[in-house]
Symmetry: C2
Subunit: 584 residues, 2 copies
């Protein structure tokens, strides 16, 4: 990388008139970031102030290397949950070992993201289909909500699955703290009202739509500040669990303890965090880029997110990625360039330097309420209906991932989803669509006899196979082929149209050779038509072309012409030598 490339192009081309938009957006986004940062750190099982550390330098890191102008990078609920789920089996939440583990996770996934960026391995994220990502996010949101009911009510819960957590919450509920429960529920109620009712109220008051939505996004900060004020005035901190002491000042440069056993245990979780974080962030950035007519560079995104995670680790934070909610605020509030991220970081730094005392008396139950409302927003059952409607197998993959995450946990759920999406893919390919086709009169086009009025021949059968031929579908293809042959008694010639066949594997080629022989027994010649170039190249390496009783035709139309002529003049003797034409 050349030296001048270290200065990002947005900075070189910065126009002063952008400053106001960037600054306003930055302040609004950080008003949202502060309570979220505290809450998501708690969700990750970490001291809340570590969320502010994770919300500081990553903003700058992304601004240096990322390609989206308004993506807001920092702590998000899903990665906080994944951090907790990776660490709770191997360390006690809140312990020094646990905090070290969280830093290691951020470091590892940062390194992985950078590697993917430099090696062009962003395609790894293609293992995750949209239904799997949707199902994962919805399932993780359910898991998050299940885990926050206990802190909301001022009690404890344990367990790894949503069911275990909910059952233990119910078991522990007699010990719950009525003050905390009341305050938590009031906070929850206010936040729900603010999200659902406030935009409507503001709009009836004449506030413009985008602005109304924007203002309602600041409700969590308001509720947080109000609860702090009330707690301070009435000294509720003696009865309620509060966030407690936050060390004032900027984070120190930190290096985690490199514990090899722990690193080994965290490799897979870090990879999943990197992939999920990347996919989520990319989809947010892409939506915005599309609206703004900007160009997004997946590799730049990987480098930006990788740097953000490294900086989070070096400043003692945890894994971060692009936040959907804060990016939306940034966008709606008129940010023009990544400078808004840098300004937001300065705002967070000011909070850390001068305002940490404010948040010490923030009740934990209020944080839980903000997490629940944020997570509820991530549950997307409409996506489930949409995928199911579009294709049952896509619906199955999303439903399976969702249930997997809820019932078996974060990683098992992802594993199940990826497995399901590949299994259904292969299942579909194993049941290929095969059409008997005929020529559309007056054209050279051959179409399905069931969908079109077409011309067919009594002694020539045209079969189009709509799938690659490989070991798990070749039996089904054979069965269908012989069933059609059985049906048409006076058959002399069978033409397989391979226009949709992009690959034939060695199992299928072996079976086709047998089919060729079996048809010869019945005095039927086998022809191929519309064979693709790469397929024909490969066929040349097998014995099929030499043994083929019929010919290879450039198109079904040419096959029809040749065979009609042949059958009239030649009385259909199966003696034409194979003469491969050159199709595309």
């Amino acid at each position: 990388m050349r030296a001048h490339q270290l200065i990002p192009s947005w900075l070189k081309n910065y126009q002063p008139k952008w400053l106001i938009g960037d600054a306003v957006a930055a302040i609004l986004a950080s008003m949202m970031l502060v309570p979220q940062a505290l809450a998501y750190a708690a969700l990750a099982g970490l001291p809340p102030y570590l969320g502010l550390y994770a919300g500081l330098l990553p903003l700058v890191g992304y601004a240096l290397f990322g390609s989206s102008s308004v993506l807001s990078v920092g702590p998000v609920a899903i990665l906080a949950l994944m951090t907790a789920s990776a660490l709770t089996p191997i360390a006690t939440p809140g312990s020094a070992e646990y905090i070290n583990g969280a830093i290691l996770l951020a470091l590892l996934s940062g390194i992985m993201l950078l590697l993917m960026g430099f090696l062009g391995l962003g395609s790894l994220s293609n293992l995750l289909s949209l239904p799997v990502v949707n199902g994962f996010v919805s399932g993780a949101a359910v898991l998050i909500i299940a885990g926050q009911i206990a802190p909301l009510l001022g009690t404890k819960s344990e367990g790894h699955t949503a069911l275990e957590i909910l059952l233990s919450t119910i078991d522990n509920s007699p010990m719950s703290d009525p003050d905390a429960a009341l305050m938590g529920l009031i906070a929850l109620f206010s936040l729900v009202i603010a999200r659902l009712g406030l935009p409507l109220l503001l709009r009836t008051l004449g506030v413009e739509r985008t602005r109304a939505k924007l203002l309602s996004r600041l409700a969590p900060m308001l509720v947080v500040l109000l609860s702090i004020a009330l707690t301070a005035i009435f000294h509720w901190e003696q009865d309620l669990p509060v966030v407690g002491e936050i060390p004032a000042g900027l984070p120190d440069f930190t290096l985690p303890v490199f514990n090899p056993t722990m690193i080994y245990q965290l490799l897979l979780p870090a990879l999943i965090i990197a992939l999920i974080g990347f996919v989520e962030s990319l989809s947010v950035a892409h939506t915005i880029a599309l609206r703004r007519g900007e160009k997004l560079d997946a590799n730049a995104e990987l480098r930006g997110l990788g740097t953000a995670n490294l900086l989070s680790a070096f400043s003692g934070g945890f894994a971060v990625t692009g936040s959907f909610a804060r990016t939306a605020v940034n966008d709606e509030a008129g940010a023009r360039s990544p400078l808004s991220g840098v300004i937001a970081a300065i705002f967070i730094a000011l909070v850390l330097l001068y305002a940490t005392k404010v948040f010490t008396e923030l009740p934990v139950c209020v944080l839980a309420a903000t997490i629940i409302v944020a997570a509820a927003n991530l549950i997307d059952l409409r996506a489930l209906a949409h995928h199911w409607h579009y294709d049952r197998t896509d619906g199955l993959a999303m439903g399976g991932t969702l249930l997997g995450v809820i019932l078996f946990g974060v990683e098992a759920g992802i594993g199940l989803g990826v497995g399901l999406s590949f299994a259904t893919l292969i299942w579909r390919a194993s049941r290929p669509h095969i059409a008997v086709v005929g020529r559309v009169p007056g054209t050279e086009h051959f179409r399905n006899v069931l969908r079109y009025t077409v011309k067919t021949q009594p002694d020539t059968l045209f079969l189009r196979i709509d799938e690659n031929l490989f070991f798990s579908n070749i039996s089904a293809i054979e069965d269908r082929l012989f069933a059609e042959v059985q049906r048409q008694k006076s058959l002399h010639d069978l033409v397989l149209i391979l226009s949709s066949v992009n690959r034939i594997d060695s199992t299928a080629i072996e079976r086709l050779q047998q089919v060729n022989q079996d048809l010869l027994e019945r005095n039927i010649r086998l022809h191929l038509a519309e064979v693709k170039g790469p397929v024909l190249d490969r066929l040349g390496r097998s014995k099929l072309l030499q043994e083929l009783t019929g010919r290879v035709f450039l198109s079904a139309y040419i096959a029809e012409l040749a065979l009609r002529h042949h059958n009239i003049h030649d009385d259909g003797q199966a003696s034409t030598p194979p003469s491969p034409a050159d199709p595309s």
Copy 2:
């Protein structure tokens, strides 16, 4: 099933002139079966005489329900190895529990084969590609040979992998029995000479080729009888391990002890035994049926093999399937109907009733020699070269299975092979072939610009995607599409030719909608052409068709005509409403 169907059709139509061929073939095949049965039972870790039990009733069971006229069903080396590999971790070889386990395995796989036959689930065997089956057989043969070196040399070996077994054989070799080693090596040498040299010798003596091959197949029986005679004459049984007492008489009807834990542990091995046995047997039967112009029925094969295994279990035997070598002998010796199997069973019954004493003095090292020669014949490195040459991924699947079986054992090897064959399938589909196409002048055909001299347009790009669109390849497709768009500056219209696309999943459809928007930003309209019926049906459930900036054309040719006309008269404004035509 109606009553008269219980009498197989070959029996109803039996012609007396077939009898001589059937009888001669039966006697030759059982001459081969007797030493193999004893040897494979030993290979399975069972008392050798159980091999004779497994070689008796299964022949009759298959004759009743199977569809091949000459398939010889009974003990085979591969299933013997799989029996040993499934049972050694859970019982001591030779113990009552172990024998019970072997009977349970035969029973379970018999039930599974029958279920597959009645439920039409024979397609389960489609999970096994040809390279995986080839690799498995070769790998298992190596494993068998590794395990037989110790008995050949009169010593012991332990371990599960080929390497462990060989190392322990070398460790134990100082304790080997020089008498046994000498006799074993002489037997091995004679058998190799018989297999390689005898046919040649017989042919130079004027014996016809098939007959020479046939006679050389009887060499093992000769070597066995000779070794028995020598042992009896010189009383070597005092120095050499011999087969020992064989209970005279036919097997009793047996039911295994139904130990639920053991049944649970054997479910997966039984399924793999059923599938491998079925695939192997079917391929043998198919080769013969093709040569004889017979019709093979996969479901009848499942019922035949299932019954054979049940009868093996009920008579105290182990898992059986069609034997390649004995079927070949049966075929070459002129068998005409399954009666040859029934006659062979009678021959085995006579051996069990009157000739068991003969085999008590058969040295174990000679059995080992016959197993080694039979297994060596199964190693097929030419298949590896063939698959690798045809397609690297097929070669990889075979090589992976082979190495997997040798290094990690039978089931792990199969698992690795199946995993590899699916993984390479998906890997290939993730790197789709995409061609820029143009019209072949004077025709309506569009072909790859790199392979043909074709006509292209400066303002219209025709792209043909040769793969289904799904989550793991849509990124690659997007990248290629935008790279082509970048290359052609004056572009107004992009036509995606979907003639090879049989499915578009919901991830891909979502991304195509974004592509449609992205192209709109650049003032390029997106058109689709040659969309298949089922694909178009599904597209109708998404928003793509409504949002599409271009049109859906029946063919690329029609698209070219329409767009040329349009661009001349309409100055290329992106305003034509989508009007889906009806393609096939």
